[in-house]
Amino acid sequence: MITSHPRIVTSRMDYDDSYTFDRFLATGGYDGLKKALSMTPEQVHDEVNTASLLGRGGAGFPAGRKWSMKRPSDVTYLVINGDESEPATFKDHMLIERDPHQIIEGAIIAAYAIGATAAFLFCRGEFALGYERLLQACNEAYGYGALGPDILGSGFALDLVIHPGAGAYICGDETGLLESLEGKRGFPRIKPPYFPAVMGLYGEPTIVNNVETMANLPWIVLNGGAAFAALGQGSSAGTRLFALSGHVEHPGWYEIEMSKTTFRDLIYDPSLGGGVRDGRELKAFIPGGASSPWFYPEHLDMGLDQDAVGKAGSMLGSGSIVVMDDTTCVVRAAWRITRFFARESCGQCTPCREGSGWAEKVMRRIEDGYGREEDLDLLMDLCDNIAPGLGWPPKQTTICPLGPSIPSPIVSGITRFRDEFLLHVKEGGCPMPPDEVRHA
């Protein structure tokens, strides 16, 4: 169902100059912050709890609960994760480039609620334009008095540093990100301690929140957590930005009400995805980023709901949906995602480092026509060693969730399209047509 709902994080996107300070101020910019500063930090926290705002980075952990886990300390850091790198996810990229002020306003609100003494916004290095716009927005926020020693006369002090990444998927993991922010290789940290809220940046309690999570805060403070929770259903409250790509007529980002809108609506509705390209048949789709197990036509009528998707054995993850039509070679698609994990594995844990490269080579030889029938069992066994039992959510043999994500495309492909894998082996090559170049 396509519902009419307020546009919470994309309200300024109709304007070409949505990223400018003038447009921001002319469209309610800093109204949320002003209201937040008139409340106590606890009241702001309560509103976010009431809103049932799930973190928008991928794990979907309730933001308010994350804040509650903070170890009391004189020094608390807020770190905003803008290192969006999950394949086919491009919502944070858009938010950073098109409305940087909104993110900064949300960050100041969050910092106020948790009592942060300094904030760092980690912007993916490849977003050069977005990084420039964030720097500009940060300068303007200081000039306006929204950052600095006495924010808008409230006595609350906060510094914000816009920090550039340098190209590593693993830095999207919150402890990998903190290591990178400390000027080191982005190696995720060994747990326990499980949460940066206890021991994070420089060993101090640190709350790490996603960019889109921050972008929701001004609206939640202005309109109340209850108004946010009234949208969506159950734990999947509010609206969410979904990134739609692949073999679809209108790839793009769409802010839609969670839970009520279905995958079918998103992919086929003329106002959204507009259907599979050239009216072709849907073969499979990825429901929540490259790490998530695949979905098929029978899942189309499921709502975009975190719990429902989780129960069906996958995840809504980073909110990116990739559509594959009936011309797609599943071996090639699964190989490419496996190759991504092999390239981005940080190398700390053996199952991930060795497993990803091995799986990638076996997948590649099947696609190239040098595969063997027993390769299918080999791949399943290999995946079982990385994430024992191959269930969902996956069991973990590694420090971070990158390793257990490796089996998703491989197991999905082999389980559902075993015949297509075997056809590659029998025919000594790929039976599917090459990918077709999309023309502008």
Binding site: D74, V75, E84, S85, E86, P87, A88, T89, F90, H93, T117, A118, R124, G125, E126, F127, A128, L129, E132, R133, Q136, N139, Y142, G143, L147, P149, D159, L160, V161, H163, P164, A166, G167, A168, S180, E182, G183, K184, R185, G186, Y202, A243, S245, G246, H247, P251, W253, A290, V322, A333, R336, I337, F340, E344, C346, D435, E436, V437, R438, H439
Partner: protein, 211 residues
């Protein structure tokens, strides 16, 4: 020899960047970007300069930099093409576009043209999937790119038509942090002036003073 250290101007900028962080080492990656904006890649001398500025060894700078795709320890072309071939772009024909790029430039992935104008890289997802096939030039986005659009892009870059949108390789930002000294430091200074040192943050997270 292009192998120089940071210029006086960049050294001043580097010190201002270091001052933003509670611990100097945090500035390592931003300083690598700064050094790349000067030379296009990380020279030995600039890595030594960075090491001194953040308080670690040059080997640690190299060891950290080598972890990150965007940081180059060898020279690259003035324009670095990054063609995304990850799932969304692959479905839109990215490998076909990449093959075309190799043919058009006369180099393979990872190589630089003889005139040192172009380097070709195969990138992981660049978060431009709605404009697949997505191509970056020095981390500025272009897309959707088909074979024809790629040729046009090469021609425009070679003719200098895109100088405004695409700065030379390594220039990540043309906007600098202009304001905002560490608030805690300013506050602490104020408090100290008033004879009250009660607001100084404890242990290693003390905001750097003297800035």
């Amino acid at each position: 020899m292009p192998d120089g250290g940071l210029s006086a101007e960049n050294r001043a900028r580097a010190e201002a960047i270091v001052a933003l962080y509670p611990q100097a080492r945090s500035a390592l990656v931003p300083l690598c970007h700064l050094a790349q904006s000067q030379h296009g890649y990380l020279t030995e001398a600039s890595m030594e300069d960075i090491a001194k500025l953040v308080g670690c060894s040059p080997a640690e700078v190299r060891g950290t930099a080598s972890f990150y795709d965007m940081l180059h320890t060898e020279p690259v072309g003035r324009y670095v093409f990054a063609v995304c071939t990850n799932i969304a772009c692959m479905l839109a024909g990215a490998y076909e576009v990449l093959s075309h790029a190799e043919e058009r430039l006369g180099i393979r992935v990872g190589q630089t043209t003889h005139d040192e104008l172009f380097t070709l890289e195969e990138a992981e997802c660049l978060a431009g999937c709605d404009k697949a096939v997505c191509v970056q030039v020095n981390h500025r986005f272009f897309g959707p790119i088909d074979e024809e659009a790629f040729d046009q892009l090469v021609d425009d870059l070679a003719a200098g038509h895109l100088a405004d949108t695409v700065p030379p390789h390594g220039v990540l930002n043309r906007v600098s942090r202009a304001v905002g000294l560490p608030a805690k430091a300013a506050k602490a200074a104020k408090a100290a002036a008033a004879g009250d040192a009660g607001d100084t943050p404890p242990n290693g997270s003390r905001a750097r003073s003297g800035t």
